[in-house]
C-alpha cells in the first residue's frame, strides 16, 4: 500500500480530469493524497456556461473551485503560485528545487504528474519535466515511484502502452463530482471533447472518455 501520494499538475481541474478516480481509490484505501497545484488557471478560456467570470475575476473563482474539488476528494492542497501559461518560461532548475523541497518534507511513496513532451499543454509538459527532475534529484533511497500521464495523440505509438491502467468506474461518481466542482471549466472542457454532440449528456461523455486513468511508471536511469 502507498504511504502518501503527491499529485503535481499545473491547473485547477487537471487533477479532476487526469487522476481524480485514482485519487479517490487511494483515499478509499486510506492513503493520504496531496495536490501540488502549479497555477490558478488565470488564463483559462472557459468562463462558465453561461459566462460568469471575466479575465480578472477568473483566478479567484478557480481558486475556490480548486478548494471545493479537493474537499470532494478529501485530499490536501498546496498552491505553488506560478502563473498560467508561463511555467515553461520559468527556470526549470528553480521549479525542480521548489518541488524537491516539498517532496522531501512530505516523503511520498508515489508521485503522479504529466508525461513531459506528451502532455499537450506547454504548462503540463514544463511542470511534468520539473517534477521528474525534482524526483531524479532526490537520493535514490528516498525516491518515490513516479507515474507520468501522457495525453498526446501519439503517446501509445511512441511510448508503447501505459503500464498502469486503472479502471476507475467504481469511483466515477466522485470523479464527476470533482469535475463539476470546477464550475467555470467543466462544461467547456467536456463539451470540447465531443464537438459533434454539443448538447449531449455530460456524464455520458465523461464516462466514455474518462472511465480509465492511465500512467507510465517513469524509469530513472
Amino acid at each position: 500500500m502507498e504511504k502518501h501520494v503527491v499529485v503535481i499538475y499545473p491547473h485547477p481541474d487537471d487533477e479532476a480530469f487526469g487522476a481524480s478516480g485514482t485519487i479517490a481509490k487511494f483515499r478509499h484505501e486510506g492513503v493520504p493524497v496531496t495536490y501540488l497545484c502549479g497555477t490558478l488557471g488565470e488564463m483559462g478560456r472557459n468562463m462558465g456556461n453561461p459566462t460568469f467570470a471575466n479575465r480578472e475575476t477568473l483566478p479567484e473563482y478557480r481558486k475556490q473551485e480548486l478548494i471545493a474539488a479537493c474537499q470532494v476528494l478529501d485530499m490536501d492542497l498546496r498552491m505553488l503560485g506560478y502563473r498560467d501559461k508561463t511555467i515553461e518560461f520559468e527556470s526549470r532548475d528553480e521549479i525542480a528545487e521548489h518541488l524537491k523541497s516539498i517532496l522531501e518534507e512530505i516523503k511520498p511513496s508515489l508521485v503522479i504528474t504529466h508525461y513531459p513532451g506528451h502532455a499537450v499543454h506547454p504548462d503540463h509538459d514544463a511542470l511534468g519535466a520539473a517534477a521528474v527532475e525534482a524526483v531524479a534529484r532526490m537520493e535514490e533511497a528516498q525516491r518515490p515511484t513516479l507515474w507520468a500521464q501522457a495525453i498526446s495523440r501519439n503517446h501509445a505509438e511512441v511510448l508503447g502502452n501505459p503500464d498502469i491502467v486503472q479502471d476507475i468506474t467504481p469511483f466515477f461518481e466522485k470523479k464527476m463530482a470533482t469535475i463539476l466542482a470546477h464550475e467555470s471549466q467543466a462544461q467547456g472542457v467536456l463539451g470540447g471533447m465531443n464537438q459533434n454532440m454539443p448538447n449531449s449528456d455530460l456524464e455520458a461523455i465523461a464516462k466514455e472518455r474518462l472511465g480509465t486513468e492511465q500512467f507510465y511508471t517513469w524509469k530513472f536511469s
Partner: protein, 117 residues
C-alpha cells in the same frame, strides 16, 4: 460582462486620454486547438501590464463585434472581435470577445493601476 454599447465604451476610453495606463491585451484559441482539431493551429499572444499613454481612442463596429484602437505618441494598440464589456469595482475597463461556447478569444483591458500579477 454586458454587451458593448458603443457610446458608453467610447466615453470610458476617453476618460483615460493622456494618462499613464496599464494594458492587458490577449488573444488565444487555446492550448488544445490543434489537439482537438489537426487542421487548426495553436495561436495566442498576451501582454499584461504594458504601460502606455494614449492620445486618441476609438471604438468602431456594429452588431456583435467591435474593434478598438488606441493611438500613442509612437504607435498603436489594437484589438478586434470585442463584444462584451464592464467597468469593474476597481474602475478598470474590461473588454472581451467570446466564441459561441462562451470561451474567451480576445481581451483588451485598461487600468490606471497595475493588474494583479
Amino acid at each position: 460582462m454586458e454587451a458593448i454599447e458603443l457610446e458608453l465604451v467610447q466615453e470610458k476610453l476617453e476618460s483615460y486620454l493622456n494618462k499613464h495606463v496599464y494594458v492587458h491585451l490577449e488573444t488565444t484559441n487555446g492550448a488544445y486547438a490543434s489537439h482537438f482539431n489537426d487542421q487548426a493551429y495553436n495561436v495566442g499572444a498576451f501582454i499584461r501590464n504594458a504601460q502606455i499613454s494614449y492620445k486618441q481612442a476609438k471604438i468602431v463596429g456594429s452588431g456583435s463585434a467591435y474593434r478598438v484602437g488606441l493611438k500613442t505618441e509612437i504607435g498603436w494598440v489594437y484589438a478586434e472581435g470585442l463584444s462584451s464589456w464592464e467597468v469593474d469595482e476597481q474602475n478598470r475597463l474590461l473588454m472581451a470577445g467570446h466564441d459561441r461556447e462562451g470561451r474567451l478569444m480576445v481581451a483588451l483591458q485598461i487600468s490606471e493601476t497595475p493588474f494583479n500579477n
